[in-house]
Subunit: 440 residues, 2 copies
């Protein structure tokens, strides 16, 4: 493994670390026997186009139009407001949290290097939406509407409100403040593109929202804010290459997907916790939660993903993790090198009770806490894997996205379900429409 790649460590899954609850020789042999069929299924999904996410990291370069429009958008607008929900929002939110400086929207234009502030409207709470509309100058705002089908009720609702405002404020120029990211030919938004000449990017028709971060859905808004999307794609490609072989020892994505499946199916771990020890990676757990839940929660199967934050949730969830039911698999994320100089958080003159902190910086303490929590859970016989980011940058985030996307597909193959559909959300949509049509 190259030094500058994500390090993925499964040692605390092993029986010699956590006893009977762990993976022993029997388990590893049994899992290895499942791999060929899962691999074949994955190849079928690639052929059928269901697993098209894999090829987003492929040889094709990113369309130059994305860079051009992103540069124009950054030049012409103060704010980028993304209207999108679920898979149309989470990958971008995760990338923005990871790769933009903290307090981005509170920084000056100069500090943001002329890039726009970013607001991702992934809910329809009326107070938040009203406050945002009062807060921004819509004339100076680019609204990027993301919905493959154009049928997403939340995004459509926001769009109709915004459209009226744009027409009010800008007259015939309303279209200049809109960008659509949608199906290349079908759906409710595409006809508007043609009728009004609205700038647009295409979402590959077979690409599901939760696998779309490396498509224009995530890439275009990220590029507007100055994120290095070439590095994001490059990292994803490196991970795809690293995960090509159907071998659990050498393919970390297959290992993650297969081990999680095994812990759920054979060891009663129906919960999977993602706990980043890094504020930058905080929303990686939200992104993962959608990916895991919506892909695998079917036919009465599927682990429930849980978001946790290190070190914060040591003071909230870790009591349960240590002494509650042994029903969880833990995914730790840690960062070896932070962005700001460590001197800025170095402790001097601590009180005598904390003399051991003298000269230590916050990053060192945070990482010690990660090791300590991992160690404590291991002593309590709870399985965990740990992923180390050499640092949080676009390349490593790209690796992370691809790692868990492949892992999800492989887990889906093991469960014998289709990880690319989401039939369970239809009833709710139907009932919503009925309630609103009846004006109940």
């Amino acid at each position: 493994m190259e030094e500058d790649m994500l390090d993925i460590n499964f040692d605390n899954f092993r029986q010699d670390r956590i006893g009977e609850e762990g993976l022993g020789e029997f388990d590893l042999d049994a899992i290895a026997k499942l791999i060929p069929a899962a691999h074949e299924k994955f190849q079928q999904w690639r052929t059928s186009g269901d697993a098209i996410f894999y090829d987003l990291a492929g040889s094709k370069d990113i369309s130059p139009e994305i860079f051009e429009v992103a540069a124009n958008t950054a030049e012409n607008f103060e704010n980028l407001v993304v209207l999108g929900i679920g898979g149309s929002a989470l990958g971008l939110r995760c990338a923005a949290q990871a790769l933009l400086p903290p307090f981005w929207n509170m920084l000056s234009g100069e500090e943001r290097k002329g890039k726009p502030r970013l607001f991702v409207c992934d809910n329809i709470d009326p107070d938040t939406f009203s406050a945002l509309m009062r807060f921004i100058d819509v004339k100076k705002t680019c609204f990027t509407v993301i919905s493959k089908s154009g049928k997403t009720i939340e995004t459509a609702s926001q769009f109709f409100i915004v459209l009226e405002k744009l027409k009010q404020k800008l007259g015939d120029d309303w279209r200049k403040n809109l960008i659509f990211i949608t199906d290349p030919t079908a759906g409710e938004l595409r006809p508007m593109v043609k009728a009004h000449g609205i700038t647009s990017f295409a979402i590959p028709p077979k690409l599901g929202g939760r696998f779309s971060v490396l498509s224009p859905v995530g890439l275009f808004p990220a590029a507007c804010c100055g994120i290095d999307i070439n590095a994001l794609i490059g990292g994803a490609k490196d991970m795809a290459d690293r995960c090509a072989k159907p071998d659990i020892q050498e393919n970390p994505a297959y290992a993650i997907g297969s081990f999680h499946y095994w812990f759920d199916a054979k060891k009663n771990k129906n919960i999977s916790v993602m706990m980043p020890y890094s504020d930058a990676l905080l929303l990686a757990s939200d992104w993962y939660s959608q990916l895991w839940a919506e892909s695998l929660g079917k036919s009465g199967r599927g682990q429930t993903p849980v978001k946790a934050q290190g070190a914060t949730d040591q003071h909230s969830q870790v009591q349960l993790y240590m002494e509650g039911p042994n029903d969880k698999v833990f995914n730790f994320l840690r960062v070896e090198k932070f962005n700001f100089p460590s001197t800025e958080t170095k402790i001097k003159n601590p009180s005598s009770a904390f003399s051991y902190l003298d000269g230590i910086d916050l990053g060192t303490i945070l990482n010690a806490e990660q090791r300590a929590t991992e160690g404590a859970l291991t002593q309590a016989k709870r399985p965990s894997l740990t992923i180390s980011f050499p640092k949080v940058d676009a390349h490593h985030l790209g690796e992370f996205f691809m790692l868990y996307e492949i892992a999800t597909a492989i887990a889906g193959a093991h469960y014998g379900i289709d990880p690319f559909d989401q039939p369970g959300v239809e009833l709710g949509k139907k009932l919503t429409k009925e309630i609103l049509e009846a004006r109940l």
Copy 2:
């Protein structure tokens, strides 16, 4: 029930709604039989002082000093930075999210009515902390350090860094920018109060962090930002009164605690989802998650709390909730009346595919989605309760806090564990210290 109180509806727990998985006559009889012992245990905890949270909502008025110091703080400082983690932060974060206008920290001083911006440092991520220290003017910042014991490594570390900065910038006046909220006599912080005349508030010694939001821990910073803390306490008192009787039919807190326990212990629901359909109430699920996990996750027992956001997570988690394992109890929060005028989010001229949205506002859609998701889960035989907030204000939030605090105590009594300790976090603390002392 008075009209302006929280409405708490358990109908979707019943067998006539969700079949065998629900609560039938047998279950309700069995639960009713458990109530007297649980009630007695709760009374014992009140007598011993363990359940002192209950009496925070009692007859005593809030100390006038809190109002005075809060007014001075708001007058003299641009920023309020709270250094605290876990229970020292979550209640405040929840209250601030619920009760301050959206985008609080981005509003002008005038729009904030002269109240300070609020930053709650509840993690030690070095990049966030460095960025914050660069962003604020420490001279214009009041740092409120919250730790009962003063031994919390994260809070202490932040404090030492801040202390050096204050001394650098302010010389002998450093103490004027500090407020401590800590044990009245013991701990690492109290001696500094005495030695340097630092303004301080006392945390009742027996009060655990996760039950402390209605003590100075939550009240003082909330008051600084202009939150009506009298109403918060008043709401809590109303709920305490409403939950006085040991009767599952009339006491919603006892019902929540007892039903959750029963679903976990007898119906294999080891997960409890809190899903607010309101951005203002988003962190209510974080606050609940700490309360539930740290209080009840012991002796191999305890449900795992899961945070979800309505409507957003319909596009992320609901697939799993509908078709995954039937291993969850759902807690929905909804809001009947939002703060901003509904006209601001009213939809006009929707496309023909969405003609049924014409004239409807976002709040109506959001609430329809809540009903739809609740209805869909009921059809899928998944148990849920729904709490309706007439609106999100300090009074109703106070009700909510007390409701779940009592519910947690009662659940603890049913589990036969002590809901007020957290022995499981000690090993991690010990290992952290060892790692740092060895400078590994």
